[in-house]
Each structure stands twice: as C-alpha cells, then as structure tokens.
C-alpha cells in the first residue's frame, strides 16, 4: 500500500474499516482481566519460590504474597461479569460449556486455582489461626473457628503433616498458576482472525509478563506497607526479588520483541496490517511508552540494581520505583494487545479509534474501582490473618 504517494487521500486509501468493526467490543474490562490474573499468578510464584524452591531470602513475603494473590483472585471475575451482556447467564459457561471454546475453560481453571490457593492459605495459617482463636473473643473467635476448620490440633505430628500438604499444594500450584495465565494468553493467541493476537507465543508472553507483574506488585506492596507502618524493611528479601524480577523481565521483554521481529522478518501479508498499526495508532502506546519508557529504562535499572552492590537505601528507594514502571509496562502491554488488536479492522485496510470514557459501564471509573477493590480486600485479609511472621503468635511453628 503506497500510502504516502497521495498525500491527503492516504487516509481514504488506508482507512476502510468494516462497518461492524467501528466499535471496540473488548475494552478496559478485558484489559484488566489478564492484568489481574497475571498479578495473581506472579504473586503465587513468589510464594512458591520459597515454599517449593526454598529461596530462603523470600521467607518474609512468602505468606503475604499468597494473601496478595487471593485478594486479586477474588476480583479476577469482576471485570468479566461487568463486561458480559448477560452476567446472569455466566454460570452457563460451567454448567453447559462448549468443549471447543477456549473461554469455556475459564470457570474450571479459575475455580480449581481458587481451591488450591485457599487450601494452601488455610493450611499455612492453621497454627496461627488456632493461636489467634485462643486470644480472640466474640465475632473474631467465630471467624477464626471457621478458618481453623474445627481442628485445634497443633501437635508436632499434625504440623509435620500440614507442612507436607503445604509443599504439595505449592507444588501443584505452580503448574496451575502457569496454566491459569498461559491459558489467558491462549484466549487471545487462538483467534486466527486477528493477526496481532494469533501467535503461539502469546501464552508464553502472557505468562512471563504475569510473573513480572506479580513480583513487581509484591515488591511495591511490601515496601509501601513497611514504610507506612514504620516497620523495618528486609532489604535482602527485596534484593532477591529484584534479581528474580530482572530475570523474568529479560525473558518477557526478549520474547515480546522476538514475536514482533518474527512477524517483521517473515513479512507475510499479516505484517502489512500490523506494520500500519504499530507505526500509526499504537506508535505512542507501544513504541514510546511500553517499549521505550517502561521496558528499556526498567531493564537497565534492574540490571544495575542486580549487578552492583548498592547500599540498602538505594535498593529501598529504587526497587519500588522500578516496580511501578514494570506494573505500567505490563498494563500497557495488556492494553496494546487487547485494545490494539481490535483497532485494526479485519478489512485489513484501516484502523478504528478507541478512547475510554470515565463514567460508562466499562469506563475508567469502574476500572479504577476494580483495581482498588483487591487492595481493600487485602487490607481486610490483613486484619484477620497477619501478613508478617513477627505479628504471628505461632510464628516459630510455621514452615
């Protein structure tokens, strides 16, 4: 398409979109859905690094990251339900699923993962809950009674069994976390009609960016909570997190670029539509923001933080900062994939535009509410179950 040749008429040449493609059907809510599940999967992996792979430095945040994952997992379905034309029929996906549909698996995968996560938290906190129950009275005593599932047995034998169960749950949790988010990538990657989505690398990229956003979310939440509650930060833990964050981000960023480069190099007719998209409507949000500002800069900051032996203050300052940038990078990536993919009309001759509104049903305000909700839930969870070992009356017994 020699677009430049005709000056003003270029828009006409390049801009025929199918009449039904004017509207972007999957907007902010579907941007948030993979973002939230990604944070869940990533946070769980942080916890598993300690519980399964015995990365001792991560012990301070190993339990917090599970509660962090739970808080976000509880909200993972909210954007979906808000998006559906008929949310009251949502359960049909589980009751009468269509076996050939990628989407039909979500209910099962989500529920299975929720069960594993809840069980792991219940077992992990059992001695804590038993101890707290003894101290509590009234309503909270009932709550702890429910959470202990009727078992007050904290003998050494019982705790040993608990520990085995926790290790098992954490171990099966890893592939499940990978499935949860790899699967979300497949929901997009399996749509052959959309050249920006249809790539076998999509599940992998989604999974890696999930790990990245989860670790970044944990670093940010941990440092902020410590700062605002005036507690000492375990900088060694942050250093280890930063190293893992850098490692996962190298893979994530490299695969994102490789995917694009492969399209560019193979230059099938798909590339010609992708090319106009990346150089046009997605230029700022992809090249400038996602790649330039929020990938390249964090990449070097993380490298510097990982390779050079900085003092604690530098780490404590830059680690949350770079985590914010990484969280932005992943959010931008979700936006560029989900919304970007729909901007391009299937006419292969042009792109539509999309500007989210503040107050519409799937607008910016509902999106903010849905992103704040997990933090509120996390705060409530923190009132019931202590995040940190030092607040735990049964800390010495916890594995």
């Amino acid at each position: 398409m020699s677009v430049a040749a005709h000056g003003d008429t270029a828009a006409a040449v390049a801009n025929y979109i199918f009449p039904n493609d004017l509207h972007v059907h999957w907007s902010l809510m579907i941007v948030l859905y993979p973002y939230i599940t990604g944070i869940v999967a990533g946070a769980f992996i942080v916890s598993s690094l300690y519980h399964v792979f015995h990365i001792k430095e991560l012990k301070p945040i190993s339990r917090f990251s599970l509660l962090f994952a739970l808080a976000f997992l509880i909200c993972a379905t909210w954007p979906l339900l808000n998006h559906l034309g008929h949310p009251e029929r949502a359960m049909s996906m589980m009751l009468t699923p269509n076996p050939t549909s990628a989407m039909a698996g979500f209910g099962y995968i989500y529920s299975a993962y929720m069960i594993v996560l809840l069980l792991e938290i219940l077992f992990l906190y059992r001695p804590t809950v038993v101890a707290l129950k003894e101290q509590a009275s009234g309503f909270m005593r009932t709550v702890y009674g429910i959470l202990s599932v009727g078992s007050d047995n904290v003998s050494e034998k019982a705790l040993k069994l608990d520990h085995k169960i926790i290790s098992f749950l954490a171990a099966i949790g890893i592939p499940m976390a990978c499935v949860l988010h790899g699967y979300v990538g497949f929901i997009f990657g399996g749509i052959k009609a959309n050249p920006l989505w249809a790539t076998p690398l999509m599940p992998l990229i989604f999974l890696l960016s999930a790990c990245v956003s989860g670790i970044a979310g944990i670093i940010l939440a941990y440092t902020l909570i410590m700062k605002f509650t005036g507690q000492p930060l375990d900088v060694n833990c942050i250093r280890t997190c930063v190293k893992f964050l850098w490692g996962f981000f190298i893979l994530d960023f490299v695969f994102e670029m490789l995917e694009l480069f492969s399209h560019f190099y193979m230059a099938t007719h798909h590339w010609h539509t992708l090319e106009t998209l990346y150089s046009g409507p997605l230029y700022v949000s992809f090249w400038v923001l996602q790649v330039g500002v929020f990938s390249v800069i964090p990449f070097f900051v993380l490298m510097a933080l990982s390779l050079i032996n900085w003092n604690d203050k530098v780490i404590a300052f830059f680690a949350p900062l770079v985590s914010v940038m990484i969280l932005c990078q992943v959010l931008l990536m979700r936006w560029n994939v989900v919304v970007g993919g729909q901007l391009m009309s299937k006419s292969e001759r042009g792109a539509t535009t999309f500007h989210p509104q503040w107050l519409e049903k799937e607008g910016i305000l509902p999106a903010i509410i849905i992103m704040v909700a997990p933090l509120v839930i996390l705060w409530i969870l923190g009132k019931v179950l202590p995040f940190w070992q030092k607040d735990d009356p049964a800390a010495q017994q916890v594995g």
Binding site: N20, G85, K346, R349
Partner: protein, 267 residues
C-alpha cells in the same frame, strides 16, 4: 341507487346493522390474517421445501454473490433492515464500493453500510478511475465456523442443514464470536445485549422462500439455492468454469458464500 334507497326505507335499523356487521367482520379478517395460510399462498421459491419438516440433511445450501452484476442500489440492505429491525450502526449485510484508479490505488467505502444506495460518485479520487464495482457482504455460513468453535456456552451453533444460528436466550454476550469471525459479520445487538448476525433468512428458507435480500435484488446479483439440486442455478454456476472464489480462503473456514467474478482487491 333506487334499490338501496328502497332497502334503507324498508328497515333503516336492519340496514345499519348489516353494514356494521359487514365492516366488523371484514376488518376482523384483516386483523387475524392467519400467517401460515398466507405464506403458503406465496409461490414456492425453493422447490421441494414445503411440507418437508425433516432436517434438510439432503440439501446443501449455498449463496452466490455476483460481483459483476451488483449495481449498489442498497435494496438488499433495506430489505434486511426491515426484515430484522437491525439497530442503526449495526449491519447483518452491507455493500462495499470499490474504486481503482489508474495508479492501481484501491479506494473502498461503505457509508451507512450502503443502506442508502450509491447515488453520488466519489469526488476524492486523485487520478482517472480505471475500474469500479460493488461487493455485497453477509454471513459466510462457514463449513468450519470460528464463531461456533469459540462460543463458550454453545449459543452459536450449526444446524444440521449447515446454517450458523444464534440462540439469543443462551448467549451471554461475551463477544468472543465477534472477535473470532474473520469476516466481521457479527455485532452485539444493543437491544438484546447478545451477538447477532445474518441468518440467510432461515425462517423464510424453511418455508420455501428465498432470503429477503435475494428476493428484492433487482439485478439478480444475489443467488441462493440447493447445491444438491442439479436443476438449480447455484449448482450450474459452481459447476461451470466461472471465476468463483470465497473470501479469505487462507483462514480455512470454508465459506458457503461464494463470489462470482471476485477481484483480488476484495478482502
């Protein structure tokens, strides 16, 4: 006149009664038209459909659009909108105008989906026009439909006679089928909040009638029929050595919508 006057004079009350009775009875007939009976009075457009309540597994319906015949009048779009009350801004069928200038630049537009017809020529073509034609679009009724594959609840399904239909009482309105359709023939109906699209007028075909758009096309650019009926026009067209293709064959969806005289510029 004299007779009527005599009648009126004989018994004015009885006369008024008769007139009123006749009027009421007559209008009742109009109000209760007994739809099925009227349908069967229309001539059968698809031979062998009437009185056949079985699944049409013996039939293989295809749709053929003759690109060389379409004049872009938009009658098909109007008929379609009337048949289904399609909400404004959504299109079950539409007509695209292609213009190719002598620098081989392709200009495509479809204002309001071609609903108003193409009565005015485009004035923004920088070079002399080499060629121009119209391409009507509608559901491709794929043999391997992506929409059916991805629907999480089975609300979009393929009938045994090859039609892809939507059960609006089951559809959850997730929009996955809209993303999956390579031809963008689907939209989310704002009134029902469910997915919607062209059905090739399944309800008409079942009664032996042609799809509404085929019925109204003044130049016979839209053709519909049974490929297993060797006397049908579609059978003849697809057997004879015409220039016939489908849209986006590389997608592997195997559409049952064929285009006669399709040009390589058409996507």
């Amino acid at each position: 006149m004299i007779d009527i006057k005599k009648e009126i004079q004989k018994d004015r009350r009885a006369f008024i009664k008769n007139v009123l009775g006749g009027t009421i009875a007559g209008s009742l007939l109009l109000v209760i038209p007994a739809g099925a009976a009227l349908d069967s009075k229309l001539p059968e457009q698809l031979p062998g459909m009437r009185g056949d309540d079985s699944v049409f597994t013996e039939k293989k319906f295809v749709f053929i659009v003759d690109v060389t015949a379409c004049i872009g009048c938009g009658s098909c779009c109007v008929a379609d909108k009337n048949e289904y009350n399609v909400p404004d801004g959504n299109y079950r069928t539409w007509v695209e105008r292609y213009i190719i200038d002598d620098h081989d630049e392709v200009f495509v537009d479809s204002p309001n989906g071609g609903l108003d017809g193409y009565t005015e020529p485009r004035t923004d073509i920088p070079f002399p026009v080499r060629d121009t034609f119209f391409v009507p679009k509608l559901c491709n009724m794929c043999e391997k439909p992506s929409c059916v594959q991805v629907c999480p609840v089975g609300a979009t399904y393929k009938t045994e006679d090859g039609f892809i239909l939507i059960d609006k009482d089951r559809c959850v309105g997730c929009g996955y089928c809209i993303q999956a359709c390579p031809y963008s023939v689907r939209y989310l109906n704002p009134l029902t909040r469910t997915a919607d699209k062209c059905t090739w007028c399944y309800h008409r075909v079942r009664k032996g009638l042609l799809p509404a758009c085929v019925n109204v096309c003044p130049v016979h650019a839209r053709k519909f029929g049974d490929l297993n009926d060797k006397t049908s026009e579609v059978y003849r067209l697809l057997r004879e050595p015409h220039v016939i293709s489908v849209l986006k064959p590389g997608m592997g969806n195997k559409p049952a919508l064929h285009y006669l005289g399709l040009r390589r510029e058409v996507v």
